[in-house]
Symmetry: C2
Subunit: 303 residues, 2 copies
Amino acid sequence: MDPKTPEIGFIGLGVMGRSLSGHLVSAGYDLRVTARSREKARGILERGARWVEFPAELASQCDVVFTMVGSPCDVESLYFGAEGLLSGLRPGTLLVDMTTSSPKLAVRISKEAKTRGGGALDAPVSGGDRGAREATLSIMVGGEPSEFERARPLLRLMGKTLVYQGPAGSGQHCKMCNQIAIAGGMMGVCEAMTYARHSGLNPDAVLQSLSTGAAASWTLSNLAPRMLAGDFKPGFAVKHFIKDLKIALESAEEMGLRTPGTELALRLYLQLVQNGSEEEGTQALLKIYSRIAEQGRVDVEKV
Amino acid sequence: MDPKTPEIGFIGLGVMGRSLSGHLVSAGYDLRVTARSREKARGILERGARWVEFPAELASQCDVVFTMVGSPCDVESLYFGAEGLLSGLRPGTLLVDMTTSSPKLAVRISKEAKTRGGGALDAPVSGGDRGAREATLSIMVGGEPSEFERARPLLRLMGKTLVYQGPAGSGQHCKMCNQIAIAGGMMGVCEAMTYARHSGLNPDAVLQSLSTGAAASWTLSNLAPRMLAGDFKPGFAVKHFIKDLKIALESAEEMGLRTPGTELALRLYLQLVQNGSEEEGTQALLKIYSRIAEQGRVDVEKV
């Protein structure tokens, strides 16, 4: 690998991936991409990226391949499937999965990549579509420290806070911590805003008071105003958050942990999906509280 | 009342009240105080405040009286008891309760004060002992707007963010929103830190990643480092937070609301108290998660 002009692959051209692959092209890197359909890749192809038919080809042609897809299931077939990344892996090639996915799966990928003479990092992110656009993401990295150093100049183009978290899977574990912290905080903010409305307060005045004290949070500053404006557009979609919370709880259970706040948040979000909010932003959790209030006293364990 | 030299009373010389009354003396105001024992007031008396025997006397001698005591129960007897503030209230005198207390009680105090020709504000605060010391509190005010304007120059000496929240009780309602938001956020942070430890991550690296993304919060930045250092000193004591959450839930119930995240947080804190943590800081909630983890799977509804 010539450190000055690595060939870079990118798979996953959704909201996040489009921005991130764009940063790589803008920095002058030679980018190869593939996607479920060539149409999805049109934007980046027009900016000079080259189309490749299969993930396996990318892994055989590139020095570093980034992936950012939907779920652990997608990651598994992308890496382990026929024509998948691992089947074509060229010795020395580094695979970097930025999907929020299972820590266990990250460990499996890392082992298999090493067996084939390559390497792998798990490098999920926090900061949303805006963080991706502005390259201000927080990127949490698991894997070999030397591989992290190798990927660092590229990750630097996508994020502002790059933190090495430990061996393979540690990036994903850290992302689970992130989602767990958000889940509790989101309940707190939604319940506070619901209380504010029902008690006849002016929620804007409440936000002003709360955002300068011990209740201050990113969620309060960024999502509470959207809640109050009735703006439930994603940001970060409910269905993705549910996926993440399921991974977190599964992983916690494997460690013999209980995280009752996170469990409650997942129950509330699953209920929210039944009301048709899965494509909305996570701030739509507010709606479940109005529903609970309308019903009067309900058995919350069943919610 | 001469607007340039109002006589000011202060009752409640605990951690918060000591700092706040000190700011008033520092600003040159003539302060009168009373407390359960003269010994408790020694510091402020040495700085020139005058001792008065009963709350009723304060209310008859002063233009504005501030109170900051422990619980709604303390507030009730301080205001409505024999020799209480209301019994001695001089027409024109303004009573300002900065205790975190019940919105309903604030309404009762306001009505009774008006009946007697005086006025009342509820003005609970957020920002903790440090905010009190540095006069950077967020102060949430309920009552008549004109009374708020009258108290503003004095409140300005104690806090940085003064927000008028609405009629009597609205300051307390806003404080309930604040505590509700904190309760959910605290569970999130404790569960995230517990997960971090159990998954073998370096919690300091996790904090670094989380504090720059969507999981960022005052609790994460200020209390998670104390949790990780095993520092459970208050800050804000568990027993006071429990008192606040009970008021919040009672008040929510009266409005026909459900706040299941807050309910769960209260259950966890009550369990924590059984383990002897009531005088510790709210960050001690972390301990309950280690306990749950040690026990393996438990019925969290009973926790």
